[in-house]
């Protein structure tokens, strides 16, 4: 690459650094996440609220035929953004790791440990030849002793958050969180806040377009469309 302009050609292999120290394929994978539909999570004392924009491509699509929020174990759920097919592979691994932990130690896996395991897998896909990074980010949340919420990125890094969003609506959602999140927020308020943060990036805040799940009393449960609608109406008031 001696006669090429600086920075050109370093995106051909994932395992080659550019002169300024970045791995272009990893950056491109992050770009895939930035263009994905918005997914977000809010942590409160009672548990976790997860919400995603389903971004239904056509009115002919059956909205209930696909999902972007996945149950990982009884006490852990995840919301995905970016390439959902990639995310599904991560979710499959997460489910497997949760069960392996249960079998090995006879206890619930901790959210932090599960997140680390998924982070390790994502990191591996930035360092080995023949692989490509995952074009997806996950919000991994759950309750062991305390509710915990982590966000992974395609480099394999992750951070713990009180409230966070990924995807195309990240900035606007994060603004809402920064203005309105409180440490003593209730779960009902968290659901409304999640919808409020989702609103700017969603085409229409209507039934069927939003997928939501709660982790309450250490139990993951998807919300029905009717339940979601109840809170959408509450937000409108």
């Amino acid at each position: 690459m001696a006669f090429r302009p600086r920075g050109i050609g370093y995106d051909m292999a994932i395992t080659v650094f550019s002169p300024d120290g970045s791995l272009y394929q990893v950056n491109y994978a992050s770009e895939a996440v930035k263009r994905g539909a918005t997914a977000l999570g809010v942590k409160c004392e009672e548990g976790i609220v997860l919400a995603v924009d389903k971004r239904i491509p056509s009115k002919l699509v059956q909205p209930e035929s696909f999902e972007k929020i996945f149950q990982v174990d009884t006490h852990i759920g995840t919301a995905a953004s970016g390439m959902i097919a990639d995310a599904r592979q991560l979710v499959e691994r997460a489910r497997l790791e949760a069960q392996i932990h249960r079998l090995t130690y006879d206890e619930d896996i901790s959210v932090a440990l599960l997140c680390k395991k998924i982070g390790d897998l994502m990191q591996m896909h930035t360092q080995y030849g023949g692989l490509r990074p995952f074009g997806a980010s996950l919000i991994i949340a759950g309750v062991n002793e305390e509710p915990e919420l982590f966000v992974t990125d395609p480099s394999g890094g992750y951070l713990g958050w009180k409230a966070s969003a990924i995807g195309s609506g990240r900035t606007s959602a994060q603004d809402v969180f920064e203005a309105e999140y409180r440490d003593d927020i209730t779960m009902d308020e968290s659901i409304v806040l999640a919808l409020k943060a989702l609103k700017p990036s969603v085409e229409a805040l209507v039934k069927g377009n939003i997928e939501m799940a709660l982790i309450k009393d250490k139990k993951f449960k998807k919300m029905s469309d009717d339940e979601v609608k109840k809170y959408i109406d509450q937000l409108r008031e």
């Binding site: 090995t104 206890e107 932090a112």
Partner: protein, 201 residues
């Protein structure tokens, strides 16, 4: 495969702790190979194990459990519970089904309450209030079935455990050469000194 040969170990669960006790004889057929063998091991802060069977297998297995326990602590920032430790031990033993560890183990310790688990060479795991294993187990069980009561204090259990090993010493060829004992309470693992054991007797 008769793995019950060579030792007597007991674990007794009480109100505030677990008592592990064993004899000190290591036998090889009809000879006494060692007269001061270690059969009780600390695995983690609040967990201990006893082993009866092949000395090499026991030592290596306990070392493996220590490593797993340390790694778990470092990776998750919390202590491996005794129940999880026993479950893990059972998984490892089962995974070696066709090349098994030639030993019987007892894992005892303190979770929210005192607990003890017996493990057989193929990974069979059972929680119990009192457990005896090794060649002198029948002798020990004879005493325990009559004398053990739930909710006994550690001080009483130390005495009962010592009597178990003593009885086995009298009536089992492969048991003898003294008693070693460890007590696990919520405050930690502690091995009794020679003098303390003499006082118990």
């Amino acid at each position: 495969m008769d793995v019950t040969k060579g030792t007597t170990t007991v674990a007794l669960v009480g109100k505030d702790g677990v008592v592990l006790a064993a004899d000190k004889r290591a036998s090889m057929g009809y000879s006494v190979a060692h007269k001061n063998a270690r059969k009780i091991f600390q695995v983690s802060k609040l967990a201990g194990a006893t082993g009866a069977g092949s000395v090499g297998d026991i030592q290596n297995f306990v070392n493996l459990l220590r490593v797993e326990s340390n790694l778990y602590g470092i990776k998750t920032n919390q202590d491996l519970t005794v129940r999880s430790l026993a479950t893990l031990a059972s998984r490892i033993l089962f995974s070696q089904r066709y090349y098994p560890y030639y030993a019987l183990f007892i894992i005892g310790g303190y979770d929210e309450r005192p607990v003890a688990f017996s493990l057989d060479p193929l990974g069979g795991m059972n929680e119990d209030k009192f457990i005896a294993s090794g060649s002198g187990m029948q002798v020990a069980y004879g005493l325990l079935e009559d004398q053990y009561k739930e909710g006994m204090a550690v001080k009483e259990l130390e005495k009962l455990a010592a009597r178990c090993i003593n009885a086995a010493t009298q009536r089992d060829l492969a048991t003898g050469d003294g008693i070693s004992m460890a007590v696990i309470t919520k405050d930690g693992y502690r091995e009794l000194t020679k003098k303390e054991i003499e006082e118990v007797l």
